[in-house]
């Protein structure tokens, strides 16, 4: 998956280094736990689709970032997310008899389970940094708790991912401060970015019956319990950056339940076209 997802638009420098000789091998080999494996697969899909779709958005920055170092940074962050997506989709697939590539390339937008925030077009640099700040803070709180999951595979992925997203969070925090507390124009753009994405933040912290059941079994993390810690993490950063936290009603969402963002289909068309036009292609 690394090679295909990355090469469409998101040719990360690392992925371009060599031909992937084995497109079918999974990122990691894991053994599922005994709980209802279809529920765990659905949960892993949610987290994996978030990471996959955002990885694709990050990859769109290749050669478009404001400076070379930032180009490398954004694509490295995309690569981390792609790695997390491979592990999560590979695990979800192992529970339901599908490969990570089948899940990434041969599902329609209605079958994806990502939050709408991940699907937003990349926008300008401020929009990308604003989303990175929100998503990294959410994922950091999530993965820190998921590291203690009773499901050893999810715990293993989370222990790995938490260190990576901590780095993303720090990167986004530094840029948020620099842009928010920068020039009039950078401040204006950063505030617009936060205002535009804020209605989509609420969806990250909505829970449902499936998640609650898994959470009570010690497998999943209750998303609604993350909102407090998330706010405690984000609010001081926004304040330091002289940004105003928006007070807006939440958007409808529905990404976790087959009501995808209007932007997802376009993203998938680009991400999936090669795999669908030439099934089984390798290079």
């Amino acid at each position: 998956m690394t090679s295909q997802a990355a090469t469409q638009q998101a040719a990360t420098p690392q992925a371009a280094n060599g031909p992937a000789t084995d497109n079918t091998s999974s990122a990691v080999d894991a053994t599922p736990t005994a709980a209802d494996s279809r529920d765990i697969a659905e949960y892993a899909l949610r987290l994996g689709d978030d990471a996959l779709v955002l990885a694709q958005r990050m990859g769109e920055w290749v050669s478009h970032a404001p400076e070379l170092e930032e180009d490398v940074a954004l694509t490295n962050i995309g690569l981390d997310l792609l790695g997390q997506a491979r592990a999560l989709l590979g695990y979800a697939g192992s529970l339901t008899g599908r490969t990570e590539d089948e899940l990434a390339y041969f599902r329609s937008d209605l079958e994806f389970r990502c939050a709408h925030l991940m699907c937003l077009p990349r926008g300008d640099f401020a929009a990308t940094i604003g989303r990175m700040l929100v998503v990294a803070a959410y994922q950091w709180e999530l993965y820190e708790r998921l590291s203690e999951s009773a499901d050893e595979a999810l715990a293993g992925i989370a222990r790995k991912a938490v260190k990576e997203v901590a780095y993303h969070l720090e990167h986004a925090r530094m840029w948020t401060l620099r842009l928010g507390d920068g020039t009039d124009e950078s401040h204006r753009r950063m505030q617009v970015a936060i205002d535009d994405l804020w209605p989509l933040v609420d969806e990250l912290f909505r829970t449902d019956e499936l998640e609650q059941q898994l959470a009570s079994a010690g497998i999943a993390v209750d998303s609604s319990a993350l909102r407090g810690p998330f706010d405690a993490l984000i609010d001081p950063i926004l304040a330091d950056a002289t940004l105003t936290r928006p007070d807006v009603p939440p958007a409808a969402g529905g990404g976790r339940h087959g009501r995808p963002s209007e932007h997802l289909g376009h993203l998938l068309a680009e991400m999936q076209v090669l795999a669908r036009q030439f099934p089984g292609a390798s290079w």
């Binding site: 690394t2 992937a20 091998s25 690569l79 981390d80 790695g83 720090e170 990167h171």
Partner: protein, 181 residues
């Protein structure tokens, strides 16, 4: 700053040795662990700390080599796995499976002292602190060329996931830093 005569790694290196089971496992681990990292060819898989286990089935002779990634998205994993198979085949071991696991989780503390020295000898600064050290971000990074601690970060992200870009203010040379992770 000149290098102190008693320069020592600040990291207490020491993950337990690679788990071995079955006949010939020690020898197989030496071959598999001797494979160089494709992105950092000066460091072997053993010295990078990513070789976790070698299990040999005493009846069939089937070999399972277990490795773990440094970063989840590390694109070198597939090449590592292929190189392990190729090197073991060349040594006459034909029935080889490479298993990739995420736990127990790799950290930069798993670099062996030899691995750290190999990085330094090749102009890459090894991690400055243990991964559990909360001061990791602010810890001074020594220039691998002149050993000055007067260095600055140019970019938190480098040519591979595991490295950042630095510059030495003393000798003016840019260098790569293997991040604490």
């Amino acid at each position: 700053m000149t290098r102190p005569a008693t320069f020592r790694s600040p990291i207490a290196a020491g993950r337990p040795p690679v788990r071995l089971s079955g006949p010939d496992a020690q020898h197989i681990a030496e071959i598999a662990g001797g494979v160089p990292d494709p992105e950092l060819p000066m460091v072997s898989l053993t010295n990078l700390g990513v070789l976790r286990a070698v299990d040999v089935d005493p009846d069939s002779g089937a070999i399972t080599v277990t490795i773990t990634p440094t970063y989840t998205g590390c694109p070198a994993m597939n090449t590592m796995a292929e190189d392990v198979v190729i090197n073991l085949r060349a040594a006459g071991y034909l029935d080889v499976t490479v298993r990739k696991v995420l736990s127990d989780t790799w950290s930069s503390d798993d670099l062996t002292p030899k691995g750290r020295q190999a990085l330094r000898d090749n102009g890459i600064a090894p991690p400055a602190t243990a991964a559990t050290d909360r001061t990791a971000e602010s810890a001074p990074v020594a220039c691998p060329l002149c050993h000055s601690l007067d260095t600055e970060q140019l970019s938190r992200f480098g040519a591979t996931s595991c490295k950042a870009l630095y510059r030495c203010r003393a000798c003016r040379e840019p260098f790569e830093y293997f991040k604490v992770h």
